[in-house]
């Protein structure tokens, strides 16, 4: 399932996938895979993404 909330939060911050990837220390392909729902990140990476996008875990990865 696509993670549109993360994509929207990233766009709101005006970050590209590459910029977000550089901030959290992963590849752009990993960010892309998370947004497309192809990869489930660990809680450690989820927290790093939340911190980078100024969002809570629930806001980005919580179920609707």
């Amino acid at each position: 399932m696509k993670n549109l909330k993360m994509k929207a939060a990233r766009a709101a911050k005006d970050y590209s996938q590459q910029q977000l990837a550089d901030i959290v220390g992963v590849t752009r392909q990993t960010i892309n895979a998370i947004e497309k729902g192809d990869y489930n990140p660990t809680i450690k990476l989820c927290l790093a993404i939340c911190k980078a996008l100024d969002k809570t875990l629930d806001e980005l990865f919580g179920e609707d």
């Binding site: 590209s16 996938q17 590459q18 990837a21 550089d22 220390g25 992963v26 590849t27 752009r28 392909q29 990993t30 892309n32 895979a33 947004e35 497309k36 990869y39 990140p41 660990t42 450690k44 990476l45």
Partner: protein, 171 residues
């Protein structure tokens, strides 16, 4: 026999160098899980596993061919080809899943390197073929390993090119 000694010596030297780098990396805190991201580590593990099963299957096929007397190659071409093919399978799978390079690494120089090595191995193989070193008693000799290596490096090179082309822009 001389060829086998050279190959065994080269492999032992490569193993020692790899161990030295591994130990040096640990001492300086540069561990693999700090270089590759978590998705890449999972993808690499799957690629390692596939490569391992490929080498097992090829070794079993090699043993079966020898037992039935149908081996169309001389020792140690079969074993070395199996190892090279499994490394190639690992590399192609890792590249395909964007797990071959660390996040900060740029592939440009590596692509060029694989291209050069492919050409160099292919030239060596063609020279061996021209000089009639590839066949003896109706069987393939160890000189054919250059052809196998050329194919593996070519596969890696092509995988790199395709991935570079397909993942150049953001979705």
């Amino acid at each position: 026999m001389e060829d086998a000694l050279i190959i065994a010596g080269s492999m032992a030297a490569a193993f020692v160098v790899a161990m030295i780098f591994n130990i040096a990396g640990r001492k300086t805190g540069r561990q693999m899980d700090r270089q590759f991201d978590e998705r890449q580590i999972i993808a690499r593990n799957k690629a390692y596993m596939t490569g391992f099963f490929v080498v097992l299957l090829l070794m079993m096929a090699d043993i079966l061919l020898k037992m039935t007397g149908n081996a169309f190659y001389m020792d140690p071409l079969g074993e070395l080809s199996a190892v090279l093919i499994s490394i190639g399978v690992f590399a192609v799978l890792a590249i395909w899943n964007d797990a071959f390079l660390i996040p900060t690494q740029k592939p440009g120089l590596l692509i060029l390197l694989y291209c050069v090595v492919t050409i160099e191995r292919m030239i060596r193989f063609l020279f061996s073929l021209k000089n009639g070193e590839c066949f003896s008693d109706g069987r393939l000799t160890l000189s054919c390993i250059n052809g196998v290596a050329a194919l593996i490096f070519f596969a890696v090179f092509v995988s790199f090119l395709i991935k570079q082309h397909s993942s150049g822009s953001e979705d």
